[in-house]
Symmetry: C2
Subunit: 156 residues, 2 copies
């Protein structure tokens, strides 16, 4: 987890995401990094991110998988194209579909470790598998199908 | 959307969910209701619930689908068993899996309408399809496999 996070390469105007935008002071500001051929992010849920007492809210877990997935999609696409993640035009991916299997309850009070594996990368689309581990055990497994942000989305 | 929301029947000690718990002041406090044979919830995203400028954060959409799905699972199970949703033992469902397809970008500044359809209900498990509509168009479609909360989860 050295160096600059994937999300810190996004241009300023595309960095307001509630899950991972550095310019969203109310958001989660998830940070994703390379770890060899896979990617990693760590996150510590806050006290209000609860589902039932003692357990982390599944919607937060889905959100983190989503953002780690789209961040990994951008980084993997940059790597496959031999270009810097921060180079123009921006590699900003959005989610086409998200699947999350909740394998075990996720205890509160633990740091979550998200690990991304690149299943497919083809320029405009990437498929990323993300596992979420807490207290040494895999708690959720997700799959993100990410697509390059449509041109029209930049203009709003 | 008359009467008491599904989530307002949950016992106090199981009402802290970040997505729909009435006892979580920092959460979304989603409220779900019957609408004939389907279920409905409405939610207005806040300014910080943004993905890219002008568009709603997909993780929020996934979270709302999740909570409307588990709420619908509880209500549908109560109805199938001919019992009141607030009766003992509590019908509190957790998510086994969540699938969301993002069909179109969701514009900010619009109320979201979530509609749940009951695909399967069998006592300990329910499968719910949830569509999310904004500005008259379906933006996302999700499927929630919900299971009755394991006994062990109550004791933490």
């Amino acid at each position: 987890m050295n160096g600059k996070a994937f999300q810190d390469h996004y241009p300023d105007e595309l960095s307001h995401c509630y899950g991972c935008g550095r310019n969203n002071p109310d958001g989660h500001r998830l940070k994703s990094y390379w770890d060899g051929e896979s990617t990693i992010a760590r996150f510590r849920p806050e006290a209000h991110h609860v589902a039932l007492p003692g357990y982390v809210y599944g919607g937060l877990i889905a959100s983190l998988i989503d953002c780690h997935g789209t961040g990994t999609a951008a980084a993997a696409t940059a790597r496959a194209q031999g270009r810097d993640l921060g180079s123009e035009p921006p590699l900003r991916f959005v989610t086409a579909s998200l699947q999350v299997d909740y394998l075990a309850p996720t205890p509160m009070g633990e740091e979550l470790e998200l690990r991304g594996e690149i299943l497919e990368v083809s320029g405009r689309k990437a498929v990323i598998e993300v596992t979420v581990r807490a207290a040494g055990e895999i708690r959720a497994r997700g799959r993100v199908v990410a697509v390059l942000m449509p041109e029209g989305m930049k203009s709003r």
